[in-house]
Amino acid sequence: MRYLRDRIISLVVTLFLISAVTFFTVNVLPGDPAILILGTEGDPERLDSLRQELGLHQHALVRFTDWLRGLLSGNLGRSIRYSVEIGPLIRNALPVTLLLAVASVGLALLISIPIGIGCAVRQGSFLETVSLLLTQLGMALPSFWLGFLLIHLFALELGLLPPAGFSSGASLILPALALAIPRAAVLTRVVRSSMIDTLSQDYIRTARSKGLPQHLVLYKHALKNAAVSIASVAGVHLTQLLGGTIVIEQVFGLPGLGQLLLAAALQRDLPLVQGLVVISAALILMVNFGVDLVLLGLDPRLRYE
């Protein structure tokens, strides 16, 4: 329980630090944010009204505490370019990104666990060599290029799935696959090496010598032990994806957080950038925390450290 308390405190502190760094990077570092948004050629009157809107006459610290207070009460302010509240914008985009990230990691696990176990069981076999070569290839392919190929093959040639846009769950299959393949490559290697480690342990020999069938040894005894390292790597991938679906959202025209952030950054919509970065960071930290709890559940030994 002490561990939990410490983790929650550090989560809150990190979140505060990230909010502060984001705010000062976007709002204080550039000098005059109004000029950053409208450009040095901006009409002086519009610059003045924008300064008024952003509350730039106040001290940076006052603006920061105001912004933080708003953040805590769920009020993220207004987007400059879209002239609407930021909260609903994020709320609409969030499910797309969240679903995509979870589906990608799920798919990656589905692909990598059987292949990784197969490699660990048949070390030195032809299957293992081919799989390891494929994992190298999978890690080298840029995900957006994979996305192009998948659209070409499954949407345009075979006509099985929608090529772009977001209309139903089927729209997420190809983007999730494009994100899952490089991750499945990494995870296959993790599954393989942690299974090799596990399979050489005494309790596996005991399980085998008492006549337990192979599939029970592998999937019940060994996988349970290997699950700790697999879950921690999968967790890292999940957190990376929460901020890292931007490129694939662009390829497939998905209206997720990434598209929103890309447009906001290019158009210098400072309040929206701030809001999106802080919300993404909060999401990532919470998922991190969740993954740690899962690890505690999977490995009782961790609870006594």
Partner: protein
Amino acid sequence: MRQGNMPLWIGVFFIAVVAIPTIISFFYTPFDPVVMEIDVRLQPPSSAHWFGTDQYGRDLFSRIMVGGQTSLTISALAVGTGMLIGGTLGAFSGYYGKRTDELLMRIAEAFHSFPSILLALLAVTILGPGQRTVLAAIAIANIPVFMKITRASFMQQSKFEYVLAAQALGASDWRIITRHILPNSVRVILVQASASFAGALLAEASLSYLGLGVQPPQPSWGRMLREVQSIGDMAPWTVIFPGIAIALIVLGFNLMADGMRIKGK
């Protein structure tokens, strides 16, 4: 084991296949990579245009050669900067330990958990898109990576007796760090550099694809893929060749990292 070096040499070979044409492109390309010639647009690969031409009639082979300049230079500078800053911080952190160490590692952890693409977009917001922004974002993302790995190696090495012996002989900390420990840590740092280089190439390609990197007319692999996205079905070669260039060199650096790891054992 002789077989142990296979990944290393295959990796070096793949890197050479992409890097040598890139180096040649500083002096010579078969066609001008930026001049548009509408009457030869969208030509499939032929003996004149090995990789075909794009929708503006530009020779893809020449553009891929020149595109490599951007991708390789930015990745090299970014990984180099990350290695220099992260390595230095990590070395001190690992050698001296204690409070500095704790503070530095906390900061590194916080940075590390923050996805680098978010960092890149923050950079784009205040600096605008361009080569410098991409360079800065990839370099900053690499600092904590090199910091962690150098620190771990220095912590491990500083417990060995040869360090104690050097201290007993009255060698200065600076001398011990640079002359005694560093040579023993170089290998892990270089393995990481090779792996980071592969990551940096992919990151640069992604950011250029999003239109955040090099601005036209200067070609880069990611940017080329952005420009041909809509014509990929009519002219698949415009999509296939830049992708293969990226994949081949990334594969090369990953294999080289693997090979060096095996050799180190």
